[in-house]
Structure formats: structure tokens, C-alpha cells
Amino acid sequence: MSVITVPPATPRERSLPPGRYGISGLLRSEWTKLRTVRSTLWSFATVIVLGIGLGALATAETRAHWASMGLGDRLSFDATRTSLIGVFFAQLVIGVLGVLVVTSEYGTGTIRATFSAAPRRPLVLAAKTAVFAAVSLVISEVVAFISYFLGQALLSAPATNTSLGSPGALRAVVGSGLYLCVLGLIALGLGVLIRHTAGAIGAFVGVLLVLPLIISALPSSIANDLQRFLPANIGSSIVSLHPGSHNFAPWTGFAVLAVYAVVLLVVGGILLVRRDA
């Protein structure tokens, strides 16, 4: 029998920096993640181009047909909403982005590298949420303001337009940027809960586009009470000068939307800790 030679165990002398990893490093890391994947950049570019473009298209179209529009149509025409119509397209792209910010990490396995560098998962989620919220808010507000000013310029006389001083106009413009941002966070929360891209996008589109169809098929006594809780109706109320009678007032609706996002993210954060990565 050969003698077992046990090489000397010599722990390396090494001093660690003081303190602990934390939110500041995680914020920088999440920002790097967001801007170093081409698909993210393309998606944000799509939000900007189509978000602004659709509003311009809709307002130019209205201006071109103004002469042939009936009096009723002219009176009910909402110049603010029409210029911001691109929001209803941008919300789908922002939603997909919000989902992907999380599910692409699971899909590619990057999540294991992330959690091996920073095991406090709720902190990672907080950083991810903050960076995505900041970027999508800035881009959404830029889209909203440019759409608004471009649209109002295109709606020259005789068509009616509004100015930011008009009642409700500023709220609609600022609100539509906020709406997009919070919707993106809802999508991010769904991504954390579902973890698979297709499933999470399906859930997001379902809530935004399919749920309204289901509710509208219910008897109107029930539907009228329920539909105000739909994200799509809340968005419509925020973007329009005059929210429909069955809808929440714009800021009330926004608060409801924010509660959805917070609940999804908190539940997501709890599950994140419990589940295997």
C-alpha cells in the first residue's frame, strides 16, 4: 500500500475589501446587461419610431379628412388622444421588453451567473426593476411629448388642436409615459412569476387584449363594474381628455395599475427566493 501524501493545506493570505456587495453595483450591472444586448436596443428603437410615427400618421390623416368629417365627429374629436395613439402600440413592445429582461436570463442561464455573483435575489430584482423602470420611463416620456407636439402641429386649422395648457392635456401626455412604464413593470413581474418567455408574453397579451374581450361578453351590469380594472381601460382613461363614464378617473386608474405592478413584483420576489435558479 502506498503512503498517502497529504499536500500541505495552505490557505491563501488575502484581504477582502470592506463592506458588502449591494445595490449600487447591481444597478450598474443591470444597466450593462440592458444595453449590451442588441435586441433590447432594437426594441427600444421600435418603441420610439412607431410610437411617434403612429401618432403622426393618425393626426395627419385626421387633418386630411377634416373637411369631410361630420359635426358630431368634429366635436367629439380628441386631439390629445389621437396624437398619443402610438402608446397603444408601444405598450406591446414595452411589455415584451419587460418580460424579456427577466425571461432571457432564465432562457440563457445567465440567471445562474447573476445569482452566483449576487445571491441576494430580491436585491437583484430591485436593481433590475429600477433600471428598467428608469430607462422605459425616459423613453416613454420622450415618445409621449414628441408625439404630442408633432401631432398638435399636424392638426393645424381648420382642425382643432390643444396645447399643454388645455385642461387635461399635460396629464394625458405625462400620464401616457407613466402608463407605459408601469405596464412594462407588470410585464417584468409576470416574467419573474412565469420565467418562460412565451408563457409570460402570452399572459401579458392576454391581460391587455384578451381579457377585455372576455369581460365585454359578460352581462353589462357585471362588465361595467369590472372593465374599469382592466389595464387597457386604465390606459385609455389616462390618454384621453375625457375618460369614459365607466372608467376610473385617470390618476385613480394609475394608482390601481401601480398596485398591480407592486403586487406582482413582491410575489415575484418571494418566489424568486424560494425557487431553484
Binding site: 497529504v6 499536500p7 500541505p8 488575502r14 453595483g25 451567473a113 445571491p119 435558479a277
Partner: protein, 311 residues
């Protein structure tokens, strides 16, 4: 130093790891051996805090992974599954990791250089070959210059040059006083790389020992003997207590007796010897012997459990 104490992990009904305890010391390469599905990757994920154990715990330098102040400074891991976004460049991947632990960005160039990816650092990782991906994973593990390193099948997809490179890297890291824990299927590779081994089967510890001890204790050690008079020699050897088998090629395999004694016996009988060759068991053989036992043992215990249930 890595310590596992009673680690247990179940996926549904399936027990992947059961009551697993072992210690991985600094300064040596410790191999982690076990057949497919024996729980090696699961164990490593639990050490890295990625999978939550159902029972037991693992510590790194005496602390749970979750409590480390600067995880990348203290432990680096190359795990089994890919952990890289194909759309991101090697450099961006390392940068997003470095930033979490406040590592200086020049460290990224250092590790890229170390693994030989400097030229392709700005290419998207999705375009990397299997070997390049593996090297990027190793670069990520080394990023924080950690004292504890885990590698799950690091030579997967590497060519002979790459394998030799990993072998030298692991040995070098251990020589610097780091704790190096590496799983592999290639037992022959482990024989060249590891000093210590932790062997598991079906999620349970089989043995925790040194490579030398593992091969020495194997019953696969034998002496191969060729002679024109095998019959006479065999009889004499068996009388002296050796276990002798006649091989297809006409040689004898002698177990339980060393070459010197066999030679002396042959000399006393005046029998010519054409070959007298001791064979040490390869690690592979020793390993097969060990894990076979564990599987048999598990089969028996499952059977007796069923019997008990039927009564």
C-alpha cells in the same frame, strides 16, 4: 475550504442527493466522481446557493454562500449548463459580473488574456465554439480571483490541447493554495489532475479519499504472468493462497500475491517466466468497482423495503 453537511435534495419523488457530507480542502485538486445522474451537478448548485437543499447545508470558508460579502472574490464556479446570453459579447458578460462585486474593469482583460479569448472578446458569445464558451465560463469563474473554485465537467468540449491547458490551470490554482473542486466523467483525466477524490453514487457518499489510496485499495490490482508451464505454476501459486485466473491469451492473472513472491515460487519450481508484470488498478477500474457496489447495495435495500411493505 468547502464543507457539505448532510446535504439532501429532492426533485418531486426523486432523491438527487441524500445526506451528503464531505470536506474539500485548500491546496489540492479534489475530484468529484460519480456515474451519470449521481448528483454531482446538483451538489455544486447547492454549494453555490442556486438550488435550495431540502436538508443539510454547505459552507464556503465556514460561511453559507448567501452570507458572503463579496461572492466573486471568495468563490468562482463553472457550472454544467451554459450561463451566457448568446447576444452578449464575452467582454460585456464579464463586465456585468464584475460590476456586481465592484471589480476593476482591467481584471476583465486579465482573465480574457488568461483563457486566450482576447481576440474574440467583442464577438457575440452565441458565435463561440463549445470550447470557447467553456473558456469564457472559466474566465468568469476566475474573475474575482477567488480562493475557492468549483468546476463542473470543465473539459467538456475541449480538444486535447484544451484538456491539458485545463489540467495545468487546475493544478496551478491548487498550488497557489486555492480550494479546487472539479467534477469529471473522465476518470483517467482525474487520475492526472486530482490529488483527492469525493466519490458519490445515487446521491450518497461512497468514499472520500486520496487518488493513491483509491487505486491501491482496489481488488483490480494483479500481476500478469506468462510461462511455458502455466499449469504447474498455477497449482503452486494457488497452494500459496493466490487467486489465479487463466486469461484467453494464455497468461495468468494473479491476485493477492506480489510479483516478487511469484518470481521466487517460479524459481523454486524451476519454471521459466516470459512475463511478470504487476498491474495497478486504473482509477477507472477502482471507480467502477466502488460505484457498482453502491448500486447493488441500493438495489438490495430497495428490495428488502418492498418485502417489508408486503408483510
Amino acid at each position: 475550504m468547502i464543507e457539505a453537511r448532510g446535504l439532501t435534495k429532492r426533485y418531486g419523488d426523486k432523491v438527487a442527493v441524500e445526506q451528503l457530507s464531505f470536506t474539500v480542502r485548500p491546496g489540492v485538486v479534489t475530484g468529484f466522481l460519480g456515474p451519470n445522474g449521481s448528483g454531482k451537478s446538483t451538489t455544486m448548485r447547492m454549494i453555490m446557493g442556486l438550488d435550495v437543499p431540502n436538508a443539510g447545508s454547505a459552507t464556503i470558508n465556514g460561511r453559507s454562500f448567501h452570507d458572503l460579502n463579496w461572492p466573486l472574490h471568495e468563490v468562482g464556479a463553472l457550472l454544467e449548463a451554459k450561463a451566457i446570453h448568446p447576444g452578449r459579447s464575452a467582454r460585456a458578460h464579464l463586465q456585468m459580473l464584475a460590476e456586481t462585486n465592484h471589480l476593476p474593469l482591467r481584471r476583465i482583460d486579465e482573465v480574457l488574456e488568461l483563457v486566450g479569448l482576447t481576440e474574440v472578446a467583442d464577438r457575440r458569445a452565441g458565435k463561440f465554439s463549445l470550447g470557447m464558451g467553456q473558456r469564457l465560463g472559466i474566465a468568469a469563474a476566475l474573475l474575482g480571483d477567488p480562493g475557492v473554485l468549483l468546476f463542473d465537467e470543465p473539459v467538456n468540449g475541449l480538444d486535447p490541447d484544451g484538456i491539458r491547458w485545463v489540467r495545468n490551470l487546475l493544478k496551478g490554482l491548487a498550488r497557489e493554495g486555492r480550494t479546487v473542486f472539479v467534477s469529471s466523467h473522465l476518470m483517467s483525466e482525474m487520475a492526472l489532475t486530482a490529488d483527492q477524490v469525493v466519490v458519490i453514487g445515487r446521491g450518497r457518499l461512497i468514499t472520500e479519499t486520496s487518488i493513491d489510496e483509491l487505486t491501491a485499495s482496489s481488488s483490480q490490482r494483479y500481476v500478469s504472468v506468462r510461462s511455458p508451464e502455466v499449469g504447474k505454476l498455477r497449482e503452486a501459486l494457488e497452494q500459496q493462497g493466490a487467486a489465479v485466473a487463466l486469461e484467453d491469451d494464455g497468461s495468468l492473472s494473479v491476485r493477492g500475491m506480489d510479483a516478487a513472491s511469484i518470481g521466487e515460487i517460479a524459481g523454486r519450481l524451476s519454471v521459466f517466466l516470459h512475463e511478470l508484470a504487476p498491474h495497478a488498478a486504473s482509477l477507472e477500474e477502482a471507480f467502477m468497482e466502488l460505484t457498482e457496489d453502491s448500486i447493488e447495495y441500493r438495489g438490495e435495500s430497495a428490495l428488502s423495503a418492498t418485502d417489508g411493505g408486503a408483510q
